[in-house]
Amino acid sequence: METLGPEAWQAVRLSLKVAFWATLAAMPLGIAVAYLLARVRFPGRGLLNGLVHLPLILPPVVTGYLLLLGFGRQGPIGAALHELFGITLAFRWTGAALAAGIMAFPLLVRAIRLAIEAVDPKLEEAAATLGASRMRVFATVTLPLILPGVIAGAILAFAKAMGEFGATITFVSNIPGETQTIPSAIYAFLQVPGGEGAAMTLVVISLAIAMAALFLSEWLARRVAARVAGR
């Protein structure tokens, strides 16, 4: 393995940052959407479900392209965000986080949704008879019970976000220090003669991080599951 230049290390740090924020930001929305899909019947439920899954289904490049069209500086949403809140996503690490978050979103939602569906509604009923409103039931019964699922989903989303490439490079390009994540750096190394060594080193690093995350997820989820199962 080759030793890596400062740019590569920058990519590692950036990837961690991007994946972390992407996951964190996706979580509340992910939980809300998963709850809607699992427990509420409403028109457009199928559509919402489809929408959530889009990033999984579309080639990532297409997702990136659509993001560029929508959230780019010229894009309607991108322009509005900039106008109203001074938020720029295009070609910033925040945009990379958006892309990574959107790509990881379906995984997050699925994991949480399955966890919610596994919660016995009888327990929620019992909580309601004890005076807990729907919100309270969710916070005090459903949420603690799905925690293993949420953790597993979050760490999976994190791993996915770490590995996301196509949508990210298409949306926010490959600017060192700003949007060049590990996969983008790998791509860049692979595109030039003699870059394979550095690319492999990065692959190994990202593998190590992802594996560590997965082990952590298993371990956490098992601990939480034991607690939650009342053992």
């Binding site: 500086r73 894009g75 295009a90 390009s173 060192p176 003669p193 870059g195």
Partner: protein, 235 residues
């Protein structure tokens, strides 16, 4: 000043080395953002913070010009490349020019394929198709291609021996030990391979950007360009 160069991925190293040298003399910071030319062009059209665009083919530059995203005044061809036929395995480079009637198909086994980049999408593939057509080989080879999404992937197919033959840039062939050049396509068998650069209309410091581009076309650059296997352009 800080200059961001959106560069066709294959030009990252050559531009990075050039930029390092240029920075020393000029004091400008240069950042290279490497990606496919098509991706970069679209991003620039969407207002990407690029000061300079270096495209692997002129079409995407034309496309940006039409959209007033680059300054035509600053557009310049930077360097060229050659298209070569490569074969799996190490060995001496046969640099012989390929001529009509070379019958590449006959060098492929019945199950074998010729690795190229996408022949109607990626520059290296488009050049390869043109070259094969002008040599009269296209008909025979069209059904025998393995088209990769970029030229480096085509190179990898040959390097691993998955395809015994492939068509790539000379720059790629030179650095890969597991392939040898089996012949070079005549310059006139395909449209000239030109990497072109221009300053974007959105550039924060168009002057500094233009200066860098001019420097690339100037007298100091050819050494670096040649060292990376690209073909310096005649004045």
């Amino acid at each position: 000043a800080e200059i961001t160069v959106f560069a066709a991925a294959s030009t990252r190293d050559v531009l990075a080395e050039a930029a390092e040298i240029y920075s020393e003399s000029s004091g400008d910071e240069i950042r290279i953002a490497p990606a496919g030319s098509s991706v970069l062009a679209r991003q620039i059209a969407q207002g990407a913070p690029a000061d300079v665009f270096v495209s692997a083919n002129p079409e995407w530059m034309d496309w940006l010009e039409e959209r007033d995203a680059v300054d035509p005044e600053t557009r310049a061809a930077l360097f060229g490349n050659r298209l070569v036929l490569i074969a799996h395995g190490a060995g001496a480079a046969g640099s012989a020019e390929l001529a009509p009637g070379v019958d590449i198909a006959s060098r492929l086994g019945p199950e074998d394929r010729l690795a190229v980049a996408l022949t109607d999408a990626v520059p290296a593939g488009i050049y390869a198709r043109a070259a094969l057509e002008s040599l009269g080989e296209w008909e025979a080879l069209a059904p025998r291609l393995a088209e990769a999404d970029n030229v480096r992937a085509a190179l990898a197919l040959v390097a691993l021996g998955e395809a015994p033959l492939g068509i790539v840039y000379a720059t790629d062939a030179a650095a890969e030990m597991r392939v040898r050049v089996a012949g070079t396509f005549p310059e006139d068998s395909h449209p000239p391979i030109r990497y072109v650069g221009a300053v974007t209309t959105a550039a924060a410091e168009p002057e500094a950007a233009a200066a860098f581009l001019r420097w690339l076309g100037g007298p100091q650059a050819p050494d670096i360009i040649a060292r990376h296997g690209f073909a310096p352009l005649p004045e």
